[in-house]
Structure formats: C-alpha cells, structure tokens
C-alpha cells in the first residue's frame, strides 16, 4: 500500500502498487502513520519526497467504497468519513518538520491533487499525467479545507478557475505556466524522481532546524492552518 524508506537525509514515501492509489480509510491511516514515523525520526537536514508507482499519483477518494455502503445515506456517511479522516493527513504534511517534495509519477486528481499540493515543492512529468479537480464534473461539493488549500497555494484567479471550475485535465507544461507546480521538465518517472532527489539533497545540505522550518511554513498559510487546526509550537518573535 505505502512504504517509507530512508536514503541518507531523504525520507521516501511511496504509494506502492499499480492501482489508482485511491484514498480509503485504510490507506489514509497508513499514510498518516508513515508521516508520523518520519516526523519522529526527523533530524536537521531531513527532507521528505513523496511519489507513487504506476500511472497514478492518486486518483482521489475511493468513491466505489462509499457507494458499496448500499444506501444513499450510507454512501454520504462514508464520503464524509473519508473527507474528515483525510484532514489529519494534510495537517501532518503542513506540520512536518522538514521540507516536502511531491514527485508526481502520473495523474493527481481531487484529494490526490490536494495531497500533492500539501507539499512545499511539486514536480510533475512533461509527457504524462494530468492534474484534475473532478468535483465539478462529478457534482460533488468542495470540502472547506480543499477550497482553503487552493486559495493558499494557487496564485491567480485564472489558475483557480481553470483548476476548479473548468473540469480541465491540466498537463505539465500548462501546470507550470499557471504556477500550480514548480517543474514539468522531465519526460520520465526516473527524470522527475532524480530531479526531486537532487532538490532534496540541496535542501538537506542547509541543515535547517525542522521546527523553525515548519513554523515558517505554517505562518505562510494562516487561513488554511487555522482550518486544519494546525497550531504553532514556537511563539512568534516580535
């Protein structure tokens, strides 16, 4: 399902298997527990890189599991459960005392895109993989913290419209132009991963204090962090 590996200063979180890596209560709690593990093992210079195998980074929540509840109310409850239990995963990424990089091997949709955007740096492929907020096409409302994430991380009205209102499947080059991702320079998974490892190593070399790093990160996104109930341990200096 997912693994956490250590390579020198770098923590590598991988969503394994050739499937859509949909977020379901079990995957959510596995990812959360691996993030907690990374946090507990973090030292100066630690960096997290998150990636996945196959065609998908993550295709969002497990809607089939929600529908398998058998009733309308059951399905809605299961959706609600996933939306609520996913919030701590996002919170854990914002709280993580180290720089975070998402290496998108493939498609990132809905909560899968939220997961990607929760990282400090996002790299994707040039040749394959799209970013897609499917909610408008599926007729699903946007949870409040999803909207807050886009307000925090997407800079222009045009980019927000393209992502949230147009149902567009955005490829690498356009994602860079819209300022949604940092890079889409590579034509292969290996290329993207190598680039993120290279960035990771240069960030690791700074030997930053992880608590200070996390505090500065959280201070950049006050609205979103308030919604995620992510608090700051270090009191702001005057």
């Amino acid at each position: 399902m997912c693994t956490l590996e250590k390579r020198g200063d770098l923590f590598l979180l991988t969503l394994t298997g050739d499937d859509e890596h949909r977020f379901h209560p079990d995957t959510i709690s596995s990812v959360l527990s691996l993030l907690e593990q990374a946090k507990s093992q973090s030292t100066r210079g630690s960096v997290l890189i998150t990636t996945a195998h196959g065609k998908f980074f993550s295709n969002g929540f497990d809607l089939a599991w929600a529908q398998a509840a058998g009733s309308q109310t059951g399905a809605v409850n299961r959706m609600h459960q996933m939306v609520e239990s996913f919030k701590p995963v996002i919170a854990a990424l914002f709280d993580l005392p180290m720089p975070t990089i998402a290496a998108l091997n493939g498609h990132a949709a809905a909560s899968g895109l939220m997961f990607a955007l929760s990282h400090d740096y996002v790299f994707m492929r040039n040749d394959r993989g799209v970013l897609y907020m499917s909610e408008v096409d599926l007729g699903l409302p946007l949870p409040d913290y999803f909207a807050a994430m886009f307000a925090a991380k997407i800079g222009t009205s045009i980019a927000k419209r393209e992502l949230l209102l147009s149902g567009k499947k955005i490829k690498g080059e356009e994602a860079v132009a819209l300022g949604i991702v940092d890079s889409a320079a590579h034509d292969s998974v290996e290329g993207v991963v190598e680039a993120t490892v290279s960035l990771g190593e240069s960030l690791a070399a700074k030997k930053w204090n992880g608590e200070v790093y996390a505090s500065i990160r959280k201070s950049l996104y006050p609205g979103l962090c308030a919604m995620l109930s992510v608090t700051d341990k270090i009191a702001a200096s005057p």
């Binding site: 800079g155 222009t156 930053w208 200070v212 500065i216 201070s219 702001a236 200096s237 005057p238």
Partner: protein, 266 residues
C-alpha cells in the same frame, strides 16, 4: 547614521557609513525622526521619498548582537521598526527604495515597506534570512510578504527557501520594479522616477490613505503585535485597533526628543 536631504520635491533619506546599517534603537529613532521631519514639511503632500544607503548594505536587519547582550532590546527594536513601517505606510507621499546593497531580514522588510523597489543588478541581494539563522517570522513580516510578493511559489522561495534574491530574480518574482547597472545608476533612476511622479501631481494625502487601505492587513498585523507586545505602551482597550495603533505610535513618537509638540497627521 542617516541623513535627510531635499532636492526640489524629492526627499533623499540615506543610511550613511560603510557598515551594515543594522536596525538598532538609535538608527530606528533617527529614521523615525527623519520621517517626522518629512511629514511636517509644508510641501510634503506634493513630494516623494527616496530611501537609499552607502556601502555594501542597504540594511542587514536587526542588531542581533546587541539583542544577545541585552535581551529586552530585541522587543524594543521590533516595536520601533513596527512604528517606522506604520509611519511609512501612512506617509502622504510615494516612497521609493533605491536598494544598492544587501537587504536582509528586517532590512528586506524595510525595503518592502516602500511603494517601489529599484535595485542594482551587479551586486547585492534581498534575503529573508530567518530560516538560516533559526528565527521564525513575525506575523506582520508574513503579512508584508503576502502583500508584496504575489505568487505562493515566490513567497515560499522568499521565506522557506531563504533564497538570496538578486535584482534579476527579484524582477522575475515581482518584488523588484526595475534593475540598474550600478549603485549610482540605481539612485539616478530613483530620482528620475521620483521626478516623474511629482510631475503627475497627485495629492499625497489621498495617496497615503489609499496605501493604508491596500496594506490594511499589514497595519492590522502590526496593530495586533502592538497590543500583544510589552515594548510599546498601549493606549487602552477601549479604543479600536485602528486608533490604538496610532495612539501607541503617537506615544512612542512622543518619546523622541526632537518631536515633542509637533502635530502628527491625524
């Protein structure tokens, strides 16, 4: 420490000497004095302020060595900088920072407190150094960054990568308005821009009010800091945040010996 010169309708404020122009209490008081002088000049609402510096540094931030030797000074410097920045935000005239040397941390903040940043491209960088020296960013610093640096990625580069931003990069990131070949060329360009602005003839009082509205989040963050900090006397909880920051600013400014009795702009 700093000099104030008038050239026609342009006020030239210069941080003098070859040092780092660290924002210690004395320099901050001198700067605030200069701003007060500018404000009380009869032609102030038809003028422009240009701030620049001698030497390798615009300003290298707070005097942290001084703060290490005398900890209460840290809060005092912060309070004085907040007052200075609040003053700059309400100043009834356009302001230009001619950045001819390094501007780090609080020094970068000071540059960003101006409406225009002109920078030399051959040397010097803008640097939010806090991450590298294990300091967090005060909320009002972040408010200024959010106002002056538009893209989330650029804000991340400023605060979370602690990038040493050259004029070229600054231009790309939308922090720097224009870049110039040398220190002298940068100041010359600032003078030229200042003269052009003066020619347009806008009312400085209206300008100052508009800037306050645009930067109200920064003023609000500064105001929140005022009520939380013990560095500056608070005027009392009955007042709204808006007038309480002005009143505490007024109280702080009354402490400056040269300025007692002068009327401020409210």
């Amino acid at each position: 420490m700093c000099t104030l010169e008038k050239r026609g309708r342009l006020f030239l404020l210069k941080l003098t000497g070859d040092g780092e122009h660290r924002l210690n209490p004395t320099l901050l008081d001198n700067l605030r004095s200069a701003i007060t002088q500018i404000r009380s000049d009869p032609s102030s609402s038809q003028s422009v302020l240009i701030t620049t510096s001698d030497g390798k540094f615009f300003s290298n931030g707070y005097d942290l060595a001084l703060a290490a030797s005398d900890p209460p000074l840290r809060a005092l410097m912060a309070a004085k900088l907040r007052s200075l920045v609040a003053d700059l935000i309400s100043l009834p005239m356009p302001t230009i920072a001619a950045v001819t040397g390094h501007a780090s941390a609080a020094g970068f903040l000071l540059a960003m407190s101006h409406d225009y940043i002109l920078m030399r491209r051959d040397r010097g960088f803008l640097y939010m150094s806090e991450l590298d020296i294990e300091l967090v960013l005060p909320a009002w610093f972040v408010a200024m960054i959010r106002m002056k640096v538009a893209s989330p990625a650029a804000r991340r580069d400023v605060a979370l990568t602690a990038e040493k931003i050259t004029a070229d990069r600054g231009l790309e990131m939308g922090i720097v308005d224009s870049r110039h070949g040398s220190a002298a060329e940068t100041v010359e360009a600032a003078v030229k821009l200042g003269e052009e602005i003066v020619r347009r003839g806008a009312d400085g009082h209206v300008y100052g009010r508009m800037r306050e509205t645009l930067l109200r989040e920064v003023l609000h963050a500064i105001g929140s800091n005022e009520s939380a900090s013990s560095g500056v006397r608070n005027s009392g909880s009955k007042l709204s945040w808006n007038s309480s920051w002005r009143t505490s600013t007024w109280s702080a400014f009354l402490l400056l010996p040269r300025c007692v009795g002068r009327s401020a702009r409210f």
